[in-house]
């Protein structure tokens, strides 16, 4: 008997008890639908996170702080903020600065493409000519060598001698009076920068602020990881720092943070080496990782639901086929009398199980694609409207095919039990069976 005939017969045998087959397929469908939709959401969120990481500076971007600072913060977090004081450890260096020799060592590590000590730069607010309102400013430095995903315009010029350039978030552009976001590109915005010394000795804040102008060269789509920050170029950053620290004694300033752009391939190795030097480094992925862990946990729960549904469906397959074997006892006897081998009888029943798995996963794929498509549309119009680049569900053909194959394999395993019983039947007894 040919394989094609076996498959064809298996499929037409399913039609002999339509309702029973349909219910079994329905049970498989529930499992396959859940798992396929989960994997599509997983793909969607992962792609989104990748874009976010790209937005935040990409895979090679590292932020560093002294190890002692990091340890102090993490031990605070791990002990609800209650830590016993000891003379040896807490000698006033818990919030330490990055030392010159550490910088030298870090710069020379293999794979470190650029390394910048971050002088602090703080601004009070930003505003524009189109609005009376002022918005609190959060400044980030555009580190040379790092590419940013811009929704309009281009990334700021990283040359130290360039004009003051800034990239801002699309939401900020809207708030600053640019409903049509693209219009802000090339416009100037005003930034209020305080001087630490003057602000210390004056009561009126506006008396210690200097207003500087910077050109908006690009906008970024909002994301979950880089919600609020504006990105200043090196020239603007240095100017802000200069205003901040004017009048402070020479040498009293230290850097508490550094950023680097490294070869992504060597990132893990570099992080280890930095640790030895005394710098704790975090990549964007580390930050995204926390979100991802949370998200993964949710997906695991849903996948467990899917798996439970599949286990139940397997029992359904076993039951359905045992009934079919019982009903077709005489038919099996006839087939065997006419020369069908035990293995072909076995194959024809497992083929039926595989067909149940096939239809169940096919319906799972089709329905989850329809539901996923609708969910995408609804999501982008409602709660995800702030993230136009985010697709809630992405259906990857190979993922779906492999899920379907796995489900068909599970169905096959379930089918082996009844198929074994069928293949073991003695043709004479089977023919006598009433």
């Amino acid at each position: 008997m040919k394989v094609l005939d076996i498959i064809h017969d298996a499929n037409s045998n399913l039609w002999r008890s339509k309702l029973r087959s349909f219910l079994t397929i329905l049970a498989i469908f529930v499992g396959s639908f859940t798992i396929i939709l989960n994997s599509a959401i997983n793909a969607g969120v992962n792609q989104f996170l990748d874009k976010q990481i790209e937005n935040m500076g990409g895979e090679g971007y590292l932020e560093m702080m002294p190890k002692s600072t990091y340890d102090s913060i993490s031990s605070m977090l791990n002990n609800n903020g209650i830590i016993e004081y000891t003379e040896e450890r807490d000698n006033g260096e818990t919030t330490s600065y990055i030392k010159d020799e550490e910088v030298e060592k870090a710069k020379n590590l293999d794979g470190v493409e650029s390394f910048y000590l971050l002088s602090s730069a703080s601004a009070d607010y930003v505003t524009s000519k189109r609005t009376e309102k002022r918005y609190r400013a959060m400044m980030n430095l555009v580190v040379p060598g790092i590419t940013f995903d811009m929704s309009n315009g281009k990334a700021p010029n990283t040359d130290e001698n360039a004009d003051y350039e800034i990239a801002i978030n699309e939401d900020l552009a809207k708030a600053l009076g640019y409903e049509n976001i693209a219009e802000i590109v090339g416009e100037k915005i005003q930034i209020a920068v305080p001087n630490t010394l003057k602000c210390y000795s004056t009561i009126k804040r506006n008396e210690c602020q200097t207003i500087i102008e910077a050109t908006v060269v690009g906008t970024q789509a909002p994301g979950i990881l880089s919600m609020a920050g504006s990105r200043a170029n090196m020239a603007l950053w240095n100017r802000i720092n200069e205003i901040n620290t004017e009048g402070l004694p020479e040498g009293s300033q230290h850097s508490y943070q550094a950023v680097a752009n490294v070869d992504p391939e060597k990132k893990d190795e570099i992080k280890k080496q930095l640790e030895e030097i005394g710098l704790s480094a975090m990549s964007v992925e580390d930050e995204a990782g926390m979100f991802q862990t949370f998200f993964d946990a949710i997906l695991i729960v849903f996948n467990i639901f899917g798996a439970i549904a599949l286990v139940a469906a397997s029992i359904g397959i076993i039951n359905t086929l045992f009934m079919a074997v019982q009903e077709r006892t005489r038919e099996i006897g006839l087939d065997k009398a006419l020369g069908m081998s035990n293995s072909k009888v076995f194959l024809s029943f497992t083929a039926e199980a595989i067909m149940l798995g096939f239809w169940g996963s096919l319906f799972g794929i089709v329905v989850s694609m329809i539901v996923g498509g609708i969910a995408n549309k609804v999501a982008t119009e409602t709660f995800l409207s702030d993230f136009p680049t985010f697709q809630l569900t992405i259906f990857e053909p190979w993922t779906m095919i492999s899920i379907a194959l796995i489900i068909m394999f599970i169905a096959f395993l379930a089918g082996t039990l009844p198929a074994r019983r069928a293949s073991k039947k003695n043709p004479i007894d089977a023919l006598r069976y009433e």
Binding site: G339, M340, S341
Partner: protein
């Protein structure tokens, strides 16, 4: 004399063990020659069905040998036995055993499908077999919609479709009224005469048994009588015996029992 097509020596079949032991066949020596029509007659429980199952290689004897065309079958592997049954034997059963929801054509095709013959070829051969039983116009009908006599003709077509050397018929007319049964008998005997197919009929019906060339009577697992009938065949059918010489060449060739 030509060697026997089927030859059994000391054939025993024992069911169960020890206390519940039941000896269904107690040592059967039997030779059946090619082209014969043989009736195995006996009451229910006599062992006639067991004998047929052994002859048809559906079951294995506890003791004794079955030679098919001079070759011992006990050493053949299961796969070989399956192929032998598929290619060389045809089966007709009392209660038909059809897939009632399938079409007539598909029922006839079954042995060819098991043999793995391609679609167009098996369709052609099945239609040919249906023509022999004069049911080619019913090919597309559902098997269930046929009358009892038609069903048995479909089963004969199914037994015929692989050009078998032997047809085993187990009470072929048992479920039919006498008029319909007579037609089925006529069909089986004409296949025996015209195509040279050896016919082995298991029955308790004396009338049917007497129409065969030879009657083997079984009682309590033993042959109690083996003889040639004096009043064989209807007078109407005797005329057809002249056709014996025109037997299909294909069917006089010997069964090939390949040995491993």
């Amino acid at each position: 004399m030509k060697s026997a097509l089927i030859s059994t020596r000391g054939l025993k079949k024992i069911y169960g063990k020890r206390d519940s032991k039941f000896e269904a066949l107690k040592g059967i020596d039997l030779d059946i020659h090619s082209g014969e029509s043989v009736a195995i007659i006996g009451k229910s429980g006599s062992g006639k069905s067991t004998l047929m199952h052994l002859l048809a290689l559906l079951d294995k004897p506890t003791e004794g040998s079955i030679k098919l065309n001079g070759k011992n079958t006990s050493k053949l592997k299961q796969g070989k036995l399956n192929r032998l049954r598929n290619k060389e034997f045809g089966f007709v059963f009392q209660s038909f055993f059809m897939n009632s929801n399938d079409s007539v054509l598909n029922n006839v095709i079954l042995p060819l499908k098991i043999a793995g013959i391609r679609r167009s070829e098996r369709r052609r051969r099945a239609l040919e077999a249906l023509k022999t039983v004069e049911l080619e116009d019913k090919a597309k009908n559902k098997a269930n919609d046929l009358s009892g006599g038609q069903k048995q003709r479909v089963c004969i077509a199914r037994a015929l479709v692989n050009n078998p050397k032997i047809i085993f018929a187990d009470e072929p007319t048992g479920n039919l009224d006498s008029a319909t049964g007579a037609k089925i008998e006529e069909l089986l005997f004409s296949l025996n005469r015209n195509k040279g197919i050896t016919l082995i009929v298991v029955t308790h019906d004396e009338e049917l048994a007497m129409k065969c060339d030879r009657q083997i009577r079984i009682a309590d697992g033993q042959i109690v009588a083996d003889g040639v009938s004096g009043a064989k065949h209807d007078p109407k059918l005797i005329e057809d015996e002249n056709l014996d010489g025109m037997r299909d060449k294909n069917h006089t060739k010997e069964i090939e029992v390949e040995e491993k």
